[in-house]
Every structure is written in C-alpha cells, then in structure tokens.
Amino acid sequence: MSTKSVRSWMPPIPRPLERLFNSVPLLTYDANELPARAQSSTASDIPTLYVFSTEEDARKGLPSFNPKCLKWQTFLKLSKIPFNIIPSTNHASPTSQLPFLLPARKPSPTASKPPGGIEPIPSSKLEDWVLSQKQKDQASPEKQDEKFHPRQEAYQSLLDVPLRNSWLYTLYLDPTNSNLVEKLYIHPSSSSLWIRATLRHQLRRAAESAILTTTHSVSSGGPLKGFAHGVVHPDEIYRSAKEALEALAYELSIDNRGAEGNTGWFFGATEPGLFDAEVFAYVYLMVRFFSRPESAEGEKESGEEETKLWLGDLVRQAGNGELVGHMNRILELTWPDLVVRDA
C-alpha cells in the first residue's frame, strides 16, 4: 500500500529496492487482539442491526422502541434472517440515521490476520439486501417485489405523515411524556446533565421541524391546512392520526373480507411484507407506550387535560380492532411472548 503511494509521484521503484521492500518485515507475529469494548461486536458471525434499544433488550432481541428501527427489525425477523441487534446512536450510522445493518464478516483467511472491513447497509437498501439474501437461500426468484399494490402508495403517505407526526408530537413535544424521552433516548447517551440538556433541546427542535416540514409540504389544499404558520397544532395532529388509523383499519377489514382472501395482511398479501412491518412498528409502540393507564381512566372522565394524546387508545378504537389483531398476528410470528391478550 505504501509503495503504491510512493509510485504515484516518483519513478517506478527499481528492482533491487522492490526486492528489499518485499523481504521486510523480517519477522511477523500474529495480529494484536482487539480492545475489550470491541470484542463482542466484532466476534459476531451473523449480521448486526444497529438500532435504538437498551443493552438488555438488545441482548434478548426484544423490539426496539424506535418505530423506524422496529420496522426493519420486524421485517428481518419476518424474513427469517438471523441477526443480532446492538444498541447504538445516529452517529454510528453511514446516513446519520438508525437503523443500519452490518453484514456478517467473511471469515479471514487465517486466524492470525485481523478481520477485514465491511460496508454497512443503510435502511434505504435493506429491502434489496433482504431479497438478495432470500434468493441466495431459496435459489428461487422472489415474487414479492412485483406485487406492489396500487393502493400501497396512498396508504404509505398515511404512515409517513399523520402517523409519524402523531408519534413525534406525542413522544417529543408533549411535556407529559418527557420522562419517557429521557429514559429512552437521552439517559443512555451520556450521564452528563450538560450533554443531556443539549440533546433534549436538539431532539425537540428536530421533532418540531420534522412535523412542520411535512405539514407544510402537504398543506396546499390537503386535510392538514392550518399548519402553515410554523406552529404545531396538537388537535390537528390528533385528528389526522385518528383518520389515518381508521383508514388503515378499514383497509385491513376489506382485505379480510374481500375476494383476495382472508389473509389478514395488508393488500391481501399471502405473507406480511414491509408495509405490515411498518404499520406494526407504529401500532405496537403506540399501544405499548401510549395506552391510557387503567387507573387514570376515572380522572380523565372529568376532562382536566384533553391535550394528552393516548395514541394506544386511538389504535384500539380504530375500526373494529383490526389493527390490534394485525399487531398480534405479527407478534405471533416474531415475539410470541409479547402478544397482547386483553385486546
């Protein structure tokens, strides 16, 4: 490597010198061992998905608490690809966003050699990667990608805007959930109050601007007008989320009854796909984190604070509970221990 860079600005290396270069080092020992922190992550011989999670959850492979990470974690599980998860931060990602996947390392030719480098796969290319892995295993062409349903695009926008905004608002901007943000995102980053305060501020700002940019871009005539002044309106977010959830529940119900058969998956697919994984990610996390606690229900009747968004309740109320049913069907396939029975 070094000889190459010399060659670029100097005449070619004379033969005797090249022979000399090739003969050194005279003695080569085995590679140095890696530091303790790096040993666990580099020892793995299966792919690693970097997600927002806690150390303990990651060790057990439990669902991530971040919708985007959970979407891909679920999709990989549904695709029956073995993988580890590692709790991480956006800084570790090639796209500055989690999740991303680090494929398994090819075993180095000799044990004495240090492991080689590997390129990470950002979430935007994960679907292709999963398909390529499946094809490798089954040696039969996969038909899933051809079955892109015409309605999917419209429904995708429901996930991208109203559902995402309601998640962002509820978690990051609703002050009653600030403890949850602290626990999930801020405390694991650093024990320093100064860093935590800065991160808290950055997260809130990022959530706010994410909501405002999406509502701006669709505000021309869409159902979301009224956002155009750079102010986040919780009532609007709440209403749009409710509509989106109703629409998703309806889509599930027609597919359940419809001519395409009672598959229980979106758009009558025979197997749950990426869209199912994404809906599941939101639905599961909304039910898990934002369900109205049983005991608090009495107090809520008195109507003291109506701004609080109980997204989990919206999920349960949508349609005839199709979304919770869908969530449980996915859980049966992925984390059977976590199926919600009471619903």
Binding site: N32, S41, T42, H91, S192
Partner: protein
C-alpha cells in the same frame, strides 16, 4: 559625587564573566547603603498592585536596616527578572538604575540610594496569523492576544485554526498570575474543535473547558494541575468504518484532573538539542468519585528523551523512551453492580507515525479492526539515534544526518473471552480488570517489539523539526501498517 550602576535584568549570567576589576568591585558591593526610594517608569497600563508584589520584598528588606550594594543588586536583578517573566514588558528593555545621593540621609550616617526602573510595555493587542506545525499536522491559524487586560499581567488569547486534520478549532484562554508571581499562573480555557481521525475512520468534535494552575519550581521544572470537562462526540464515520469504531460512536463526557510535569534540561544553544534530557509525565484521573462523567480511568504516560554529544563536533547519540497505561476504574457514584466499563477509542493510546515510531503509519502499531487503528491500553516505545554533521555544511549548520532504530508495542486490555459468552456485556468487575491489565502488560514483553530502522536527514528549526527518513520495518504484527521507504516527519517532540 553621583554614581550610576546600570543593572541589566535579563542578563543573569553577568557574574560568570571573569572580571579583572572584581576585587575592587567586591569592595564596592560591600559598602552599606540604605534604600530611599524606588521609582518605576513606563508602566502606565500596569496596576500598582502587581508592581508592589514584585518590589515590596526589596523595600521590606531594606526597611530592616542598611543593606550592602551587592545585596541590593541581587534583589533588583531578581525583581527585574520577575518583571520580564510577566511577558507584558518588552524583553531586554527593563533598565534598572541606582543613583547614589553621595551624602548621608538625615536619620543616619549611611548614604542613601534611589532606584529607578524603566520599562516599556508591550502593545496590549497582538494579532497574528500564520502556519503551525504540530505533530504530523499542518494548520493555518489566526490568533489575537490581549495582554495585561486589567493591568495585572492577565492575558486573553483567542485562537482560530484549520488544518489538514483539524477541520476547525476555536480556543480562548484567559490566564493570570497568582499573587503577583509570574511563575504561578491560573488559566481558564474554553475550546471547541472538530478533528479528522482518518486512521480510525471518524471525526471527533470536542466542546469543553478547563481550569489550569501552572507553576514553575526553583529548579526550573514546570508543573500544571488542570481540571477539564470535555464533551466528545465521535461522528461522521467513513463508509468502511469498523464495528469497533461504530460501537464507540456518539457522545461522552470526560471529566478529569490532570497533572503534568516537565523537566527540560536540554541544551538551549541550538535547535538541534544535542545534549541534555527532557522528562515529561502526565497523569490523568477521569470520572472517578466526584468527577463523574461517562468515562472513568487512570491514565499515565512518561516520555523521556536525551542526547549526549560525542567528542567529534556535531556528533551525538540520543535515545527516547515512552510508556503509558490506561487503567479503567469504577464510577464513584455508580449504582452497585454497574461495574467498570472498558476504555473507549478516544481515550486509548495510539502508536506509530513519523514523529513517533518511525517506519510505521500514524497509529500503525497496535490493535486494528479492519482498516481502523482502534488503539491500545498499554504501550511502550523506544528508539536510539545518532546525529552526524552533513558533509560540507559542517557542525554549525542546522542539518544533520540521522541513523536510527526504533520500536514499540501497543496492546489492548483483554477481557479473556468472557464478553463473547455473554453477548453484549459492557461492564466488568475489578478482578477481571486487574487480570486483563496484567495480561496486557505481560503481552508487552512477549516476543520482540515491532521494530524499524533507517537513515534520514534532519533539519532543526526553532519552530519545528523536519525529518526525511528512509526506513524499513524489521519486526511487525500482522495487520500493523508499516511504511517502507521514505517518510516525512514534521513536529516538535520526536521519539
């Protein structure tokens, strides 16, 4: 009769010069006098309090009774040396003159003296721009120095720089002498920087500050004790960054106390420093007890460099030795069972490079994950060299031919396979840490160190030292990045 005896404050070696008139002078210096007054001229921006700190001892001594001219002269030399070390007056222009009134004062029969000290203050604002050479880095900087801000020799220095490795760095330092003593300074420092670390596929952003107390002992050794709090952010990873680097990406706060000791006994007559030695130690305690923060360790380093001239002019042999250890500690206020966390990449040592162990790339020695130098927790490195004058230019030129051999080992703390069984387990108990460190230290001396040898040309300039070497690696570990052939080194401290 009025006599005037100029004393040049900056020339401390005055007495060393043999003087044929010495007996006469000695006699003169033993004459008793009383001090009547001291006047300081030209210190218009400087606070009276600062000057009092320096001059009061002289007045107090004189108040006790008559002194000799010799004693007074010694005290004045000391005082003017002190004044020049404040770095607020123009050096070599501190003039002390003593005027003998030639007649006894009203109270006694002893003649009286008047002392007058003339100084020229340096300009209060200094703006500078230029290029800097650090170890293996070139950068351009602008610097503003505000001297003597409140008249007490306080300095505020503001730097902004950008360079080959440093994307940007801003730094502001306010320092003030304590108790009017130029040898004891208290400094407050704020910094923000972002630096590329191509040897480990990332960028590090730092934001923080420190308090530093620096003092010089009578023997001329420098000490400093600093508390620093720095927010480190490891980010912007390269596409091929290894899992070891990805694991350490993100935020951490280092809160630490550092003691630094420097004893520089090198020959100051030329930039080549071909005789004498320099010893530097640094000990850092981070995160332990009330310090908190996200990392907790004890990190110690020792650098020793020395050279001795041979009988032939311009020829010297020299050697360098460096060792360091990073020992992870438990957190003072940690919850029980939280344990000890192994070191992070931004705390570990790197070894190798043109100013360090030559014949290896920067960070070329030690553990590597893929293309990344991930650093180690224990290291030892040493080198020997011989400097010879370049034919025709002679020993007085700043050029030398260098013949050298150097080597080192950089080893990571080992967690004997325990982590692998438990999956992602990030904490250790103190027993495991001790065993791991013992085996790492043992590893240092197992087998030969990674070695290289070569010849080169050295150009010593008072700002930096330049080296062009041709070297070949002799011993290496698999995966260590050797550098065969030519290597350029620019820096201040070489191994």
């Amino acid at each position: 009769m009025a006599g005037s005896l100029p004393l040049d404050g900056s020339n401390a070696d005055y007495e060393a010069i043999p003087d044929p008139m010495a007996p006469l002078l000695d006699n003169y210096l033993l004459t008793p006098y009383t001090l009547r007054s001291i006047e300081v001229h030209g210190a218009t921006q400087t606070r009276r309090g600062l000057l009092d700190h320096v001059l009061n001892p002289i007045i107090e001594e004189s108040a006790k009774g008559p002194t000799t001219l010799g004693e007074l002269r010694a005290r004045l030399t000391q005082a003017s040396n002190k004044l020049s070390r404040f770095d607020i007056f123009q050096p070599d222009r501190i003039l002390v003159s003593v005027v003998d009134q030639g007649q006894p004062g009203p109270q006694s029969a002893i003649p009286e003296l008047d002392v007058s000290i003339s100084v020229w203050e340096q300009s209060r604002l200094l703006l500078r721009g230029g290029t800097d050479f650090g170890n293996a880095e070139g950068s351009a900087y602008t610097r503003a120095i505000f001297r003597n801000i409140f008249g007490g020799a306080e300095t505020l220095a503001i730097d902004a720089s950008a360079g080959t490795r440093t994307r940007s760095a801003y730094n502001a330092t306010f320092s003030t002498p304590l108790n009017g003593n130029p040898d004891v300074r208290l400094a407050v420092d704020a910094l923000r920087s972002s630096t590329r670390k191509p040897w480990a596929s990332h960028e590090e952003h730092l934001t923080g500050g420190n308090f530093r107390l620096g003092w010089q002992t009578k023997a001329g050794d420098d000490h400093s004790l600093a508390y620093s709090g720095v927010w480190r952010q490891l980010t912007n990873l390269a596409a091929g960054a290894s899992p070891a680097v990805r694991d350490d990406a993100g935020d951490s706060l280092k809160s630490s106390v550092t003691h630094t000791f420097i004893r520089d006994r090198r020959d100051r007559s030329g930039p080549l420093r071909q005789s004498g030695y320099i010893l530097r130690t640094e000990s850092e305690l981070a995160g332990w007890g009330p310090l908190k923060g996200d990392v907790s360790f004890l990190k110690s380093e020792l650098h020793l460099n020395g050279a001795t001239p041979l009988t032939l002019p311009g020829v010297s042999v020299g050697g360098g030795f460096r060792v360091g250890i990073l020992y992870p500690l438990g957190f003072g206020f940690s919850l029980p069972g939280r344990g000890i966390r192994p070191s992070r990449i931004n705390d570990r040592f790197l070894l190798g490079g043109p100013t360090d162990v030559r014949g290896f790339q920067i960070g070329g020695l030690g553990p590597r994950d893929g293309q990344d130098a991930v650093g180690g927790d224990v290291f030892a490195a040493g080198g020997v060299n011989m400097l010879l004058p370049v034919p025709r230019t002679g020993p007085s030129s700043p050029f030398r031919i260098q013949v050298f051999a150097n080597g080192g080992r950089l080893v990571a703390f080992k967690n004997k396979g325990k982590a692998k069984e438990e999956g992602v387990s990030s904490t250790l108990d103190s027993r495991t840490v001790l065993d791991g460190m013992k085996s790492a230290v043992g590893e240092l001396v197992s087998g030969l160190p990674s070695l290289s040898a070569g010849v080169g040309l050295v150009y010593a300039h008072h700002i930096a030292r330049f080296e062009l070497n041709f070297s070949l690696p002799l011993v290496a570990r698999s995966g260590e990045e050797v550098r065969k052939g030519l290597q350029v080194g620019v820096g201040i401290n070489f191994l």
